[in-house]
Subunit: 160 residues, 6 copies
């Protein structure tokens, strides 16, 4: 049976020792959604100016958030991130999709970094739009894919 | 029609000027869920030791995350947070609920702080358990309630 | 003769005690320039897409930098910034102007915050363009105006 | 024609992917000036006590600022800085020169780190002296030299 | 019987709610010692140049550390610190004393800020000298005095 | 005679250049104590709920503090920490011992990281308990062991 690697033998949290692991090339892609009123999404989508500001600000925030992961998540190892890409997709009239791809060469994976990128980008979209829409919901933040490392490749199967 | 307060007249992001707003007592409650395998939740829930570590670590991370909100969300105003409470609820065999209540006396509301608390707590639960469950999904992060300030009280109506 | 307020009687650095100062409404406007190759500025200026990215990223970085001032400048007092606005101006074929306006109600002024906003925005422009132009120069960072506080209003006179 | 490496094909900011670049030894030297009243510079220069405090505080701030570069500049890659040196030079009666030398072994260069070191050191000098001189100007922040990496050595030619 | 104010009714950590507390003027003085080899202290003490560097660097670090308290100590409330003073005393041939005085007007006290100032200054002295002395010991960090707030004045009685 | 490696030839602080040092596996163990009233320690120790909260919060804070070392101690090099473990020991009726073990593979040692972990954990215990005990003293923070690097293994001999 797999073990919780962040819990030591007495149930105390610790940062897993990865000193002896080798460095491998790693990538993780996380995804999430924000559900908004259609009028809010319309204003982001069609208003060329506003769109630039909302999504561009959220993208910058997400990228900077990725770099703060080890500072935010207690047991995360610091890593030298070598690539970050945050993308938005208008999925339907009320749903904005967010994708964060993170890459590194290191001893541990970057899924938490990708998750953090999606989360901070989503929170920033909420913040930019909350004056006109307080009902937004951040949904379905999940790992899409993960490569590199001893545990090998993970690809989420269809649906949730 | 309401305006995007973080976008100036030319569509450029700016931090809204609240210099002349009065200080009022404010509270916000945000909520979110993590969906896990029942075996993962069972290990968190029944294992007295592990539960302490996972949820306690997530609680501390969430509280510290609340205090970092203005550093993470570009247009957020810094605030002197005066109270933070993060609670977990085992909603069913595969769902963990997270509640963050944040209070301050200040010129702007604390909904982003409450959202950030829920998000960082959720990411920490993911991080603590990801060795045994990579399929977890963070869901339905939303504002439950907000009081104080000129815009008055917001209470989310039933359902989403 | 005026005294260096950050230096105590024995020449040691300290954070000036402002405990007994009253809170007043304060504003500071700082300014700076970046000198670039005309081809670089042209690419920022005319390329609608690139322009959005370079200046929008620099604006977000500048706003976030303002909020980090007390963390960067050792003797600066933490302040609850209530408004930040960063503007860019194409001054001539090779010069980009940057203006940062910062507001607060507090016990000390916000000129360092405005300076930090200009500096971080300028560094970000440099970073975004350095692949095509390593000769850029950041120039003439200075205080344009300062209001509020016991020392009263400061307005820079013409020229330097 | 060279491309803006931080802008992706649709004009969106991203952190350039350097995963596959090799690690090389790198150094960058940046430079800048502060123009002060001669009486201000005299007080820094001749007052043995004050000089220690102003320049030593600025040096420490500059070194700590270098280490914060990837947190301040959105698209900068985190790097394990292996050496930082900040030097001051009294260039003439009203001009203080600042040099920052930064070294690492890594996948990207350290010019932004050197620029940040000069900028934060300059801002700190301004902060330490602003009670006696609000007219100071930070000038001519530029890259003097850069070695290592695929793009090879850059040395600024005489003058600007 | 007094209660642990950071522990809620079920033993879970939370940030104590101080929303309804009034703001009062507050001060705290913390103290600590470093025990070094006499040759190490001699080098700090007599070497005019080195002394400047070691203690001045430690003082700047301590002041910056004070401002980071709420980021380091999970349940600490953020405060607008209004004054910080770090002093060193050569107590005897092998002992360096450190005093941190912190002031604010706020809803909670600043003893943790004063403690953090002493601790970070002490760690910095250790770091600056560890190449010549690995046996240093940081000792007797304690609260000397605390004024302001509902709990009134605390003054440590003689000795420990 | 050994030299202060953080002080350059003119007595100015600098970050030691380790660019050309090789990477070796490194470990450091630091230790410290808190002296509390026996009633305070009893409440931490026997109260199953409170114990979880106090020590678990302190452990998380200590681990996160380790990762902030290079941000807190001016001349410390950033390192990719690969393992952190914080342990508490009830030494006697009034003394809590704290051990921090830190590991990395890098160019410089991790003793400052271990010291920072002990210090932040101790400060957090103080913060959690200060409502019931203001007389606590943090004592005897020292290096127990250090391995790796050119200077070889250090083991503290018996006693102080």
């Amino acid at each position: 049976m797999k073990e919780f690697t962040h819990i030591d033998e007495k149930g105390r949290a610790k940062m897993v020792d990865v000193t002896d692991k080798g460095e491998t090339k790693r990538e993780a892609i996380a995804y999430g959604q924000i559900k908004l009123k259609d009028s809010t999404l319309e204003r982001i989508k069609n208003g060329q100016i506003e769109k630039g500001a909302v999504l561009e600000t959220a993208r910058v925030a997400g990228i900077m958030g990725v770099k703060k992961t080890a500072e935010l998540i207690p047991m995360c190892h610091p890593l030298l991130i070598t690539g970050i890409d945050i993308k938005f997709e208008f999925e339907n009239a009320t749903t904005l999709g967010i994708y964060a791809t993170v890459r590194t060469t290191g001893k541990t994976g970057v899924e938490m970094e990708a998750f953090t990128g999606v989360s901070i980008a989503a929170l920033t979209v909420y913040d930019m739009c909350k004056a006109v829409d307080k009902d937004m919901v951040i949904k379905n933040i999940k790992l899409l894919k993960k490569t590199g490392g001893k545990s090998g490749t993970y690809v989420r199967e269809n649906g949730e």
